[in-house]
């Protein structure tokens, strides 16, 4: 490998934003036919680095060389011309357009100067088959699940036939089977001599797919190591200290049932879902993408009204489709789509953290903003949010730090039953452990947690009990002690009558 | 309707008024409606909201409704021609009221002359301020024919008085609130003003508000239209004069002559409704009516 030709090189790259130095001298090089992993804590500057390679940002200092020649990448077209394709951490799809149009965005096939929609959708079908997503190219992207969107993003980048493919946390929203498919594709690309930049917070993926690893810390490139480096060593390099236990679950005695769900159904999403969550318990909800876990969580929380069935909190029945009632009964939901449902991106950190407690902090219609701010400062500190100050717009936070804000606002609310939908998506190993500790302290104080996650090790490591869903139905329940990856996966692929087909 | 003074049973007449934003045209409508009631004809009134093309639409719609005659109060004299042609094609006689129609054949124009009125206003204002001093003009919506003609008439008329200087002309869009604001501002830059000509009574009333105690004493204001509020101000002495066009009379005559046109009676090309200067001395002529 080491003899392979160097395609891309970055020297002393720097980038500052108001109040933040995001990058402070990064060196990095990329060879044909390698998968080069970028590793670093949340806010270390990984996304900022790749955004300068893709033309989204301009560097303040340093230079970028392609094939040994210094280049200026001023916009996305420049990057495309240089053969660089990028999958961003945040979705860059147009929700109102079809999958096919998104795949051809900016360069649709044309006939006599007019867009050839038919050919566009035919080409799209081929690309979707390649990545193994069975969606109709004429579906609107707004109607896709989040994992399907990610696969569309991947297909879109592949369609460019680039020499350099940059992937910013592509696996964060995927489940095992899709990750496997993705890795197969990356393997094929590597063989064709494509150079891949890969960002992930799933350390086990590094050895599976990577060749070399560049570690970023506080905006600097600290070292470069082979992908075979042991995980503990990688963690030490990245976080600056070792972490002894990745899943520090301390089970507490299960108490009375706090949340009971009975025969809950919603046409087109799930049917006959029943389970309960007890005080002091962490219940994991596993399943393949599209199994309907998110929909169940939303219905339980009142974000959608179920067609039938009931939800009880501490024995009291909740009205369907009423978020306020659910919250008053002590439910909380950390949604999976942080940009769309979790955050007010244009508002500042304090405002976002205080959103859930806004009502509680109001007396006679007036909000105790000083108190809100103090509480926000406490939580931000507890979660180690990397920010310049509490007044920073959430939009400008790194992806992982945004996720911490979504979790943080519910920590402040002190919900009796917290439903976490993919809570650690995009969060670095160090911060994950912090969140797990928080879950521990919640359950220790008699709260309950329902955790949806597509990260199987996390489900196995942190749950006391595991529920598995497949195709809109609850297909099994496992005690944590008896569960392993294989037993969960076996249930998750159970062939049941699809609750969504009528 | 009830058989009136020898009119045909259900004669339908359509009337498109340029705007009902303004008390002047509300009075015109009232006159027309009163006359229609008297004559026992059905009168349909539409409001073109000062939009020439909406007016064409309305005339077009009148022909679909098989009106026997159409009274048009043009938003704009030039732009009314196509409307008149549409009616012509359906052989419906058209009476123009208040403003003429350029380039279309109407059975009759019932009007009082805005240019002549502007001239009268100039003469009256000159007399009020002793034929010397600084005056300001509050203009209507720029580009409307009423503003054009009255402004033109005033400019022509005031030339005869070399002692009078027009120190500012500013638009206040025929609106009372804007008249107040603009006059307030002009008083800052021209504190020595002794006369104001407003192209309608609404702006004149706004200017009077701005002038406060000076209105009618140090500063003479002449308005246009002779609206009820304007006449009240004349009575109170704050408004020196208003060029009264007798809109109700215009409305009445237009309906009378429209009915004559329906009966194919011969009409004169123009029926002039006199423009009068309403002052404190002859006020009863206007309020009595």
């Amino acid at each position: 490998m080491s003899q392979a030709r160097e395609i891309l090189r970055v020297e002393g790259l720097g980038k500052r934003f108001p109040g933040v130095v995001a990058l402070d001298g990064v060196d990095f090089d990329l060879r044909a036919g390698e998968v080069h992993v970028l590793l670093g804590e949340n806010g270390a500057g990984k996304s900022t680095l790749i955004k300068m390679l893709s033309g989204a940002y301009q560097p303040d200092s340093g230079r970028i060389l392609v094939d040994g020649e210094p280049v200026a990448i001023r916009n996305a077209s420049d990057a495309q011309r240089l053969g660089i394709a990028t999958i961003y951490q945040e979705f860059n799809l147009v929700p109102q357009l079809t999958v096919g149009e998104n795949l051809a965005l900016g360069r649709p096939p044309r006939r006599f100067g007019f867009v050839d929609t038919r050919r566009m959708h035919e080409q799209a079908r081929g690309m979707l088959d390649l990545v193994g997503v069975g969606v109709d190219p004429r579906t609107r992207v707004a109607d896709l699940g989040i994992a399907q969107m990610q696969m569309v993003e991947i297909a879109k980048a592949l369609a460019l036939n680039a020499r350099v493919l940059i992937m910013d946390e592509p696996t964060a929203v995927l489940t095992t089977s899709e990750v496997r498919r993705l890795f197969e594709l990356v393997g094929q690309l590597r063989e064709r001599g494509v150079a891949v930049v890969f960002i992930t917070h799933h350390l086990e993926e590094i050895a599976q797919i990577g060749d070399r690893v560049t570690v970023l810390r506080d905006g600097r490139s600290v070292t470069q190591v082979p992908a075979g480096t042991p995980e503990e060593e990688l963690i030490r390099l990245m976080v600056g200290r070792p972490i002894d236990q990745q899943y520090p679950r301390q089970a507490s005695a299960a108490g009375e049932p706090l949340l009971q769900v009975r025969d809950l159904s919603l046409a087109g999403a799930f049917s006959g879902v029943s389970f309960e969550v007890r005080a002091g318990e962490v219940v994991g909800l596993a399943g393949l993408v599209g199994a309907g876990r998110t929909e169940v969580a939303r219905a339980v929380f009142g974000a959608d009204a179920p067609d039938s069935g009931e939800v009880l909190v501490r024995g009291r029945r909740l009205p369907g489709g009423d978020v306020r009632a659910a919250m008053e009964a002590g439910l909380g939901l950390v949604p999976e789509d942080r940009k769309g449902q979790g955050l007010v991106l244009g508002a500042d950190i304090a405002e976002n953290l205080g959103l859930v407690t806004l009502r509680g902090a109001s007396h006679g219609g007036f909000v105790d903003r000083a108190g809100q701010r103090k509480a926000a400062a406490r939580v931000a500190d507890q979660l180690g949010v990397r920010m310049s100050h509490l007044g920073q717009e959430v939009r400008t936070l790194s992806g992982g730090n945004q996720q911490k804000i979504v979790i943080g606002k519910w920590l402040l609310a002190d919900a009796g039953v917290l439903i976490l939908d993919e809570p650690t998506r995009g969060i670095d190993v160090g911060a994950k452990v912090e969140i797990y500790q928080l879950i521990n302290s919640l359950t220790a104080s008699g709260h309950a947690v329902l955790m949806i996650s597509s990260d199987l090790p996390e489900i196995l490591g942190m749950s006391d009990r595991i529920l598995v869903m497949a195709r809109g139905r609850l297909v099994g329940e496992l005690e944590a002690a008896d569960a392993n990856q294989d037993s969960v996966m076996a249930l998750a692929v159970t062939e049941v009558e699809d609750a969504r087909v009528h | 309707g009830s058989a009136g003074a020898g009119s045909g049973g259900d004669v339908k007449i359509g009337m498109s008024i340029s705007t009902l934003n303004n008390p002047y045209f509300v009075q015109l409508r009232a006159g027309a409606e009163a006359e229609a009631k008297k004559l026992g004809v059905t009168l349909t009134v539409t409001d073109a909201q000062n939009d020439a093309s909406q007016q064409v639409n309305q005339v077009q719609n009148f022909t679909s409704q098989s009106m026997k005659a159409i009274i048009i109060n043009p938003v704009d004299s030039d732009a009314a021609a196509p409307a008149v042609k549409i009616a012509e094609r359906s052989n419906v006689p058209v009476i123009a009221v208040d403003r003429g129609v350029n380039g279309g054949k109407v059975a009759q124009t019932v009007a009082s002359d805005n240019v002549a009125g502007g001239k009268l206003a100039a003469e009256r204002l000159a007399k009020e301020i002793g034929e010397k001093g600084e005056v300001v003009v509050l203009q209507g919506v720029p580009g409307t024919s009423a503003s054009r003609d009255r402004g033109q008439g005033f400019a022509d008329g005031i030339k005869a008085f070399p002692g009078i200087k027009v120190v500012a002309q500013q638009p206040a869009d025929f609106d009372r609130a804007k008249g107040l604001d603009v006059m307030t501002n002009l008083l800052q830059s021209h504190p020595g003003v002794t006369g104001v000509f407003a192209e309608n009574d609404e702006m004149a009333l706004g200017a009077i508000k701005a002038l406060g105690a000076k209105a009618g004493k140090d500063v003479k204001v002449v308005g246009f239209d002779g609206t009820p509020d304007g006449l009240k101000a004349i009575e109170a002495g704050t408004l020196a004069a208003s060029i009264a066009q007798q809109p109700a009379l215009l409305g009445r005559q237009s309906v009378q002559n429209a009915v004559k046109a329906v009966k194919s009676e011969q009409l004169q090309a123009t029926a002039n409704v006199p423009v009068k200067v309403a002052t404190k001395d002859n006020l009863s002529e206007f309020t009595g009516a």
Partner: protein
């Protein structure tokens, strides 16, 4: 995923479902036919078409802008300015009318380009940029015309006439502009880029769409459509008026939104906009025919617009 992935052709039903305003138009037409014997005649329907034409043409232009999540408040003023320039260059400078017409179109496009430059490069909110242009264009129309109407050249005025004494030219122009709008939106790169920009401007940029340049195209098209609307309007009146089309911008935007577009961008269709403009025209025509008193007309128009769109949203929700 088991459904037929090829079942994607828009059927009449999905067309109706997507352009729900059609239902509102149908209800309105039926109601007016019952209420007034004069409504459902060929002449009157052609009148409605003529009366919708100017708003519809302006609204087609606004559709482009609204799809990119912009707004164009200047269309009425630009229409007036273009017509004034046409009449003025033809009358005063003695330019032959085809050249004068081209100059008028160029004025419309120029205004649009200035709007776009302010928005794309000056980063002004579209509301402010086009509000400023409204004032500038209306003011220039007054300055050029000295506040007085100018006669349109004879040849151009025929645009306000009928073909064969029957078919009104404004309706033909409206149809033509509608087709152009539909083709641009559905079939051209520029049109698809408008949807992308309105749906997610950042994604569009990162996919290599030259967002600023596409905005220039968008607002230039809106300006060109406004110029055409202004010429049609002036032809109907046989004279170009500095105050023509005042306030039409709100009608145009209303037509676009009634037609199913969203002011937050990414959505909208030429056909929907046409239906929106027809709803407004039918409503005004009907109220005239029914001799509704002038004061009540505004009330009724307001109520009916709300009901029409309400019908649409309710139907769409129940259809889910």
């Amino acid at each position: 995923m088991s459904t037929n992935v090829l079942a994607v052709r828009p059927t009449a039903r999905t067309l109706l479902a997507e352009n729900g305003s059609v239902a509102a138009l149908v209800v309105l037409v039926v109601a007016l036919s019952l209420l007034s014997g004069d409504f459902l005649t060929v002449t009157n329907l052609l009148n409605v078409g003529v009366q919708a034409a100017v708003t519809a043409i302006l609204a087609f232009g606004s559709t482009f802008v609204i799809i990119t999540s912009g707004i164009d408040l200047s269309v009425g003023a630009v229409a007036a300015l273009s017509a004034i320039v046409l009449a003025w260059t033809a009358a005063d400078s003695g330019l032959p009318w085809p050249l004068a017409t081209l100059v008028a179109l160029a004025v419309g496009i120029g205004c649009g380009l200035v709007n776009a430059a302010l928005i794309a490069y000056g980063k002004l909110p579209p509301f402010i940029a086009t509000l400023a242009m409204l004032g500038v264009a209306r003011g220039l129309a007054l300055v050029v015309s000295q506040g007085s109407p100018i006669e349109m050249p004879e040849a151009v005025s025929h645009l306000g006439d009928t073909v064969g004494g029957y078919l009104p030219v404004p309706v033909l122009v409206m149809a033509l502009m509608g087709v152009i709008a539909a083709v641009v939106l559905n079939r051209t790169y520029a049109g698809r880029a408008m949807y992308a920009i309105g749906g997610n401007e950042e994604a569009a940029r990162l996919s290599g769409i030259a967002v600023s340049r596409q905005k220039l195209v968008t607002y230039a098209l809106s300006g060109a459509f406004a110029a055409v609307a202004g010429i049609v309007l002036a032809s109907r009146l046989a004279s170009a008026q500095p105050q023509a089309a005042s306030g039409y911008e709100l009608d145009a935007i209303a037509a676009v939104v009634i037609g199913g577009a969203s002011l937050s961008g990414g959505k909208g269709r030429a056909l929907g906009t046409l239906v929106g403009a027809l709803i407004l025209a039918v409503l005004r025509n009907g109220l005239n025919l029914l001799s509704v008193s002038a004061f009540w007309q505004q009330v009724v128009i307001g109520v009916v617009i709300a009901l029409a769109v309400l019908l649409d949203t309710l139907r769409r929700r129940s259809g889910r």
